[in-house]
Symmetry: C2
Amino acid sequence: MRRDSKLSGVLHVLLHMAEIEGPVTSEFLAGVMQTNPVVVRRIMAGLRDRGYVHSEKGHGGGWRIACDFEAVTLRDIYDALGAPEIFAMGNRSEAPGCLVEQAVNAAMDESFREAEALLMAQLGRVTLATLSADFHARLAARGGDFNLETAHAV
Amino acid sequence: MRRDSKLSGVLHVLLHMAEIEGPVTSEFLAGVMQTNPVVVRRIMAGLRDRGYVHSEKGHGGGWRIACDFEAVTLRDIYDALGAPEIFAMGNRSEAPGCLVEQAVNAAMDESFREAEALLMAQLGRVTLATLSADFHARLAARGGDFNLETAHAV
DNA sequence: CGGTCATGAAACATGTAAAGTTACATGAGG
DNA sequence: CCTCATGTAACTTTACATGTTTCATGACCG
């Protein structure tokens, strides 16, 4: 395991769901993502709480998209995941008594804060519909002979 | 342990060194950073290779600043550390066969790439001299009664 | 020259967090 | 009432930054 890939993973799941009729089980999505159904439920939980997806138990149950792809941005999805830490780097201590460290923290914080703001703005500019359209463009470029069901087979 | 704090740590060390006459031992710097001398040598190795600092063995040995604080930016220091990973988030897989994942990766990569570019530009704008000046301003604001030697005591 | 102090570097230990796994409870159909 | 699917908690695994131990190398000092 290396970096947090929840955002990447959940977007992958959503776009696949959009291509499939009817509810999809965690187990199926786990196959798509080559992971465990519980991992899928975990990352979907935040989206469910925000109403972006809906889940149903029992026979014929599973996950269903419950939002307008035009209206939801990557920023929204990021927030639904609990706004996980963006940067792999940070200050050694947050509230240092040392004035040197205060100066270092202040300089680094400002740079990182601005980069974060830009990233959030970028993510807010991309909707799920944008992503889906990009996928369909790639599909068309391939002549549409792409099989979603087998694309993840090992 | 949480996030990579090498950049924060090495800047802290450099600013302290600037306030001290003559060479400084890893052991002393380790005290300042509340860590181990080996950790100090480890993060300083990259700076030594680039000539930003100089090290000497034996009696009276230690570390010495060997660069112009006006000329070296935080970006330079970041590079000297080996340009460690900036983001805590990333793609699940880098070269996916799945077209959906390709679309997801493309969108995320672009956002992250722009945020990274901005961050690098920000870091390139701040010199070690800027940081040092900021520290001295904080020092003056305190009336200059700040003792560097004891600022890290527990 | 031998003793001591310092860096250099490799090898190993530890702590933390993401991701993976197991287990069981809950509810929906059939 | 049996099976399927989600909901969740607890536990395991893995990766990695950091911490630690150890020894080699070289410099200075008496």
